[in-house]
C-alpha cells in the first residue's frame, strides 16, 4: 500500500510544483515589482496600535 501511496505522492508533488511555478510566473507578470514588494514592516502597527500609555 505504502509503495502505491508514495508513487501517487511523487505525481502529486510534481503537479504541485508545476502549479506553483506557473502561479509564480503568472503573478510576476501580472503585477509590478513595486506592488509585490510594497509590504512594509510596522505599517499596521503604526496605524492601529499606537504606543500610548
Amino acid at each position: 500500500m505504502w509503495i502505491t501511496v508514495v508513487n501517487i505522492g511523487w505525481a502529486v508533488s510534481a503537479a504541485l510544483v508545476l502549479w506553483m511555478v506557473y502561479d509564480w510566473f503568472k503573478v510576476d507578470t501580472s503585477y509590478s515589482e513595486e506592488t509585490l514588494t510594497s509590504s512594509r514592516e510596522g505599517e499596521i502597527e503604526a496605524t492601529s496600535e499606537k504606543h500610548k500609555l
Binding site: V6, V12, S13, E33, E45, H51
Partner: protein
C-alpha cells in the same frame, strides 16, 4: 504619453500579509512545531545520561524554554512584525545581530523541517516492508515538503487551521496512551520501578545529565516560532503571549507524560536508541489499536512541525528581503494569497536538497545549534530592551515577572547546552560558528551598503534611554 505619466504617478497598490490569526493559531504554530520532539529526539538524552537524566533535563530545559517564552512574549507583544526575533534584534541590538538571528531562524526551522520529512519517511519505511526502496523513501520526503509548501503558499489561515487540527490529534494521542496504560496502577502495564533503579538511573553520573542537555532541547525546540506570526495575528499584544504561554504549558505537561509512559515501558538502553519512543510505547502495550494510533500520531506530529517550520522560515527570509539585508525580490507578497510566496518557493528546493543528503542526527543537531545560538541572543536582548525602554516608557502587551532572573537562567542554561553539544558534536558546533562568522563578515563589509538605514527601524517608539 499622458497615460504613462498618469500611471507612473498613480499610488502603488499595497500588498501586505493578512491579519487573520487568533491565539489558537499561535498555539497551533508553536505546539505544532515542537510536539514532534515528544515523538522522537528527546529520548536520545537517555542514551547520554540514563532515563532519570532525561526527566531532569525535561524539567531543567523546561525552565530554559519557560524563560524563552516569557521573554519572547514581552518583546514580541511590543515588536509585532514578521521575522519575530529578527525584528526584535534589529530594533534592540542592531543590524548585524538581526542578520545573524534571521540566519539562526532560517537554519533552525529549515533543518527542523528536513528532520521531520526524514522522520516521516523513516517511519513509513519501517512499516512498508520489502520493496520500499530509495525512490519511495525520497518520494515520501518530497511529498511531505512539497504538499506543505503548497499549503503555505496558498495562505496562512488554512495552513494554521490544518496545524491546529493535526497538532490537537497528536497531543490527544499522548493523553489517550497515558490513560490506556493505567498510570494509577503501577505494575499493571507500566513498570517504572523495574525500568529505573538506583543502579541504572544515572549510569554516567552527572556528566551524563549535562551531556543529555543537547537532546533535551528537542522536548521544546521551536516554541519561540510563535513570534513569526506577529504580523498576521489580529491582536499581537494579546494573542502572542496567550498562545505562547498556553503552548508552553501544553508542552510541559506533554513532555512529562511522555517521559513517564516511555520510562515505565523501556529500559534506558533501548529508550536512548529508538527513533520512535512513543510509537514503541504503543507497541509495548500489546494493543494493535494503540500502536496504530501512535503510528498515525507520529506522522501527524512530524507533518505539523514541518508545516510550521515552512511558515516560520519563509517569514524570516521574507523579513530579511524587506529590509534589504537580502535582495528585495524575496520580500514579495502574493496579491491573492497574501503569503511571502517567493521566500516559500526559494526555500523549497533547499529543504529538499538537505532532506535527500543529510541524516536525521545531523539535521537535528544543526537545528538545535541554531536554536541555542538564538536563545543566547534572547537573554542579552531582554536585558538591553529593559535598559533602553524601561517599564512605563512603551506599551507592552505582556510584562514578564522576576526580571532579570529568567534572562540569567536562560543564559546559564545555554552555556551548559553549548558544552553538551561540544561533547557530542564538537565539529558541527565549530563549523556552524565559523559559518555564522563568515556570514557576519559578508554582511558587514558587503551587504549592508544596500540597506536603507533609516527605513529599517519601524517601531513608533520614543528614543531609547541614554541616546
Amino acid at each position: 504619453m499622458v497615460q504613462a505619466a498618469a500611471a507612473s504617478s498613480a499610488p502603488v497598490q499595497k500588498v501586505s500579509l493578512l491579519r487573520v490569526l487568533g491565539p489558537a493559531h499561535v498555539w497551533a504554530l508553536g505546539v505544532g512545531i515542537v510536539l514532534v520532539g515528544e515523538y522522537t529526539g528527546w529520548n536520545f538524552a537517555a542514551d547520554k545520561g540514563g532515563t532519570l537524566a532525561a526527566l531532569i533535563i525535561c524539567w531543567v530545559i523546561g525552565l530554559l524554554y519557560t524563560s524563552v517564552a516569557m521573554i519572547d512574549s514581552e518583546v514580541t507583544s511590543t515588536v509585532a512584525a514578521a521575522g519575530g526575533q529578527y525584528a526584535q534584534a534589529k530594533h534592540i541590538v542592531g543590524p548585524l545581530m538581526a542578520f545573524n538571528v534571521a540566519l539562526y531562524l532560517v537554519f533552525a526551522y529549515t533543518m527542523l523541517e528536513v528532520s521531520n520529512a526524514i522522520l516521516i519517511a523513516d517511519t513509513i519505511k519501517a512499516y512498508a516492508g520489502d520493496g520500499f526502496g530509495d525512490w519511495h523513501y525520497r518520494g515520501a520526503i518530497a511529498t511531505v515538503i512539497v504538499v506543505l509548501a503548497t499549503l503555505n503558499y496558498r495562505g496562512v489561515l488554512m495552513t494554521l487551521n490544518v496545524n491546529f487540527v493535526i497538532t490537537a490529534i497528536a497531543y490527544l494521542a499522548i493523553i489517550v496512551l497515558f490513560f490506556s496504560v493505567q498510570p494509577w496502577s503501577q505494575g499493571a502495564v507500566l513498570k517504572l520501578g523495574e525500568m529505573v533503579t538506583p543502579e541504572n538511573a544515572l549510569p554516567y553520573g552527572w556528566i551524563g545529565v549535562i551531556a543529555g542537555f543537547h537532546w533535551g532541547i528537542w522536548y521544546y525546540l521551536g516554541i519561540e516560532g510563535t513570534t513569526q506570526a506577529a504580523e498576521e495575528v489580529r491582536s499581537p499584544a494579546r494573542s502572542l503571549p496567550y498562545g505562547t504561554m498556553a503552548g508552553m504549558i501544553t508542552l510541559l505537561i506533554g513532555a512529562s507524560l511522555t517521559w513517564y509512559i516511555c520510562a515505565s515501558l523501556m529500559p534506558w538502553q533501548y529508550l536512548g536508541f529508538t527513533y520512535y519512543p512513543l510509537l514503541d510505547a504503543g507497541k509495548l502495550t500489546g494493543s494493535k489499536t494503540l500502536e496504530t494510533m501512535m503510528f498515525i500520531a507520529t506522522i501527524l506530529a512530524a507533518v505539523a512541525s514541518a508545516n510550521g517550520c515552512i511558515n516560520d522560515a519563509a517569514r524570516a527570509w521574507f523579513s530579511l528581503g524587506r529590509d534589504r539585508y537580502l535582495p528585495t525580490w524575496f520580500s514579495a507578497v502574493h496579491p491573492k494569497y497574501r503569503t511571502p510566496y517567493r521566500s516559500i518557493l526559494f526555500l523549497l528546493p533547499i529543504a529538499l536538497a538537505f532532506a535527500f543528503i543529510a541524516n536525521l542526527g545531523q539535521a537535528i543537531t544543526f537545528s538545535i545549534l541554531s536554536g541555542v545560538l538564538h536563545y543566547t541572543f534572547m537573554s542579552v536582548n531582554i536585558i538591553m530592551f529593559r535598559n533602553k525602554w524601561p517599564l512605563g516608557t512603551i506599551r507592552r502587551g505582556y510584562t514578564h515577572p522576576f526580571h532579570p532572573l529568567p534572562a540569567v537562567v536562560l543564559f546559564v542554561l545555554c552555556v551548559v547546552t553549548y558544552f553538551a553539544i561540544f561533547l557530542g558534536y564538537g565539529a558541527q558546533l565549530t563549523a556552524m560558528v565559523v559559518f555564522y562568522i563568515i556570514m557576519s563578515v559578508w554582511f558587514h563589509f558587503y551587504r549592508y551598503r544596500y540597506v536603507k538605514r533609516g527605513d529599517q527601524f519601524t517601531m513608533p517608539w520614543p528614543k531609547p534611554r541614554g541616546y
